[in-house]
């Protein structure tokens, strides 16, 4: 069973680090200097070089730290990560604040914090 949270170590986001990745499909998280998640994204089938293309875009947008997970189920895994973040923090990362699709409610450990459900039901890549 895949771990529900992404718990790999954070890496510095740089062109060299990105180019060392395989050009595969998958999901990623971007963090600030305190390793707080500021965006959850995915590299889907439209990206020219998969996760590399998506992360280069994040680098240009000012991202500083990242971690990835390669998967063909990038859409469902991305949505799951958004739901888990919502469960753990009560709101979406700032970089996903314009998400406009309804997200599901998870109660992973039986007693997660109450979600800000109106805000939580909005979203974007």
């Amino acid at each position: 069973m895949v771990g529900i949270r992404m718990e790999k170590p954070w890496l510095d986001l740089s062109a060299e680090a990105i180019d060392a990745l395989p050009a595969q499909l998958g999901v990623y998280q971007i963090a600030d200097g305190q390793d707080e998640v500021v965006k959850i994204g995915y590299a889907g089938g439209l990206e020219q070089f998969g996760i590399r293309t998506a992360l280069h875009r994040e680098l240009e947008a000012g991202g500083t730290r990242f971690r990835t997970e390669l998967t063909h189920g990038y859409l469902t895994r991305w949505e799951e990560l958004l739901m888990v973040h919502l469960h753990d923090h009560g709101e979406l990362p700032a970089g996903n604040s314009t998400h406009n699709q309804k997200l599901g409610r998870l109660r992973i450990d039986g007693a997660g914090p109450e979600q800000k459900n109106e805000a939580s039901t909005k979203g974007a890549n």
């Binding site: 889907g44 439209l46 189920g73 469902t76 599901g104 109660r107």
Partner: protein
């Protein structure tokens, strides 16, 4: 059996075919290959169109405001509606509306007011919670979720697996064992609001269908009132059997639509792709794959239309619906597999919809009752009632 279409059916088929070609396929070109939804603006625009066409809410019975199509016409539409990338599980991205859970049409008026009518208005969503970790193909015996009576309430404990949409649903149809009968006569269906304390969505379950996940849910000392029982106590499996059999027909037709499109693509590619000094279509190995596809497609089409026509005539169609579901889901999988083979490397890529259909059609052999259960249904009728 007469396979010809009436003038009205022909017009409806052509209308839907044009809608898919002109409205859906162009939008898909800019969506992620695994996308499951249109942009909200596009969705609303197309829903307006289907309402103007008089086709919104296809599966809603006429007495509840649906368009009142017969099963054959509905099947013909399903064949057309699935002929695009997302078409197998999300024909036309839901722009023809949904009907809600079939069982709700058997609900009390009070329950309809609370669940059915808001669902038909698009205000509420429901989910169907039957399968458990202990099994899904023989749910009557596998159900271990237990209900205990406590005054005028029932307390439910247990878990469900592979439940679609539980995390976003407003209510769930939950099946639980409420007597010591180990079979279907001990199971009751409950309508449960998903914000009821004790209703917990534990995790997302990822599948081959990378657009859409399933969930695992648990019920922990979940209290529901007696008026939340749908139908009769211990008779949960008797609800809406006819409607459920009828639903197998458009389900099968959706499989066929993808197969027809895959065959079209295979023929076009075989005629245009040159190899070893000639078109692929000149090679006997490819010709035979195309012919085998055609046999599979026509076989499935016959079974689907036979089941639909029997349903429309008011004749028994349980065996025919099971056969249509089995034949269409298995034949369509073979057709898409051969189409991928004919396309070679290109067939494996996300540049074409074939790889998505290939994954999703594999699920169709299990969803809505696996092939083996469809055979069991047919065997019961063919051999007689003593083989239960």
């Amino acid at each position: 059996m007469d396979l010809s279409l009436s003038d009205e059916q022909q017009m409806i088929v052509e209308t839907v075919r044009r809608f898919v070609a002109e409205e859906i396929v162009p939008l898909e070109a800019s969506l992620d290959p695994d996308a499951g939804a249109l942009a909200p603006d596009d969705f609303e625009r197309l829903v307006k169109m289907t309402k103007e066409m008089g086709f919104y809410g296809l599966d809603i019975p006429e007495e509840f405001g649906g368009p009142g199509l017969d099963t054959t016409t509905r099947a013909l539409m399903a064949i057309e509606m699935s002929q695009h990338r997302a078409g197998l599980y999300n024909p036309c991205y839901g722009t023809f509306g949904g009907a809600g859970l079939a069982q709700l049409y058997e609900a009390t008026e009070e329950q309809k007011e609370k669940y059915l009518y808001p669902t038909l208005r698009g205000e509420k969503k429901g989910c169907f919670a039957l399968t458990e970790p202990s099994g899904g193909s023989d749910p009557a015996r596998a159900i271990q979720t237990r209900g205990h009576e406590d005054g005028d309430q029932w307390i439910l404990n247990g878990s469900k697996l592979y439940i679609s949409g539980a995390d976003k649903a407003d209510f769930a149809l939950v099946f639980a064992r409420t007597s010591d009968d180990p079979g279907r006569n001990g199971v009751t269906a409950f309508l449960v609001d998903t914000d009821t304390p004790g209703f917990n969505v534990r995790r997302v379950v990822h599948t081959l269908r990378s657009t859409h996940y399933a969930t695992e849910i648990s019920f922990d000392e979940m209290r529901v009132s007696k008026d939340q029982i749908l139908g009769e106590l211990n008779r949960g499996f008797a609800i809406a059997n006819d409607r459920l059999s009828r639903q197998r027909i458009p389900y099968a037709a959706g499989c066929l639509g993808a197969a027809i499109k895959a065959q079209e693509m295979a023929i076009e590619w075989a005629k245009s792709r040159e190899t070893f000094g000639g078109a692929l279509a000149e090679k006997q190995a490819v010709q035979w794959m195309i012919v085998d596809n055609e046999i599979d497609i026509r076989h499935a089409r016959y079974c689907i239309l036979e089941a639909a026509q029997r349903a429309d005539k008011g004749e028994r169609f349980r065996t025919e619906a099971a056969m249509a579901k089995l034949v269409a889901s298995e034949a369509s999988g073979r057709v898409v597999d051969r189409a991928m083979q004919i396309h070679g490397g290109l067939g494996m890529t996300k540049d074409l919809p074939l790889e998505r259909w290939y994954r999703e059609l594999r699920i169709r052999r299990v969803g809505e009752g696996p092939s083996e259960v469809q055979r069991l249904i047919m065997a019961r009728e063919i051999l007689g009632g003593s083989f239960k």
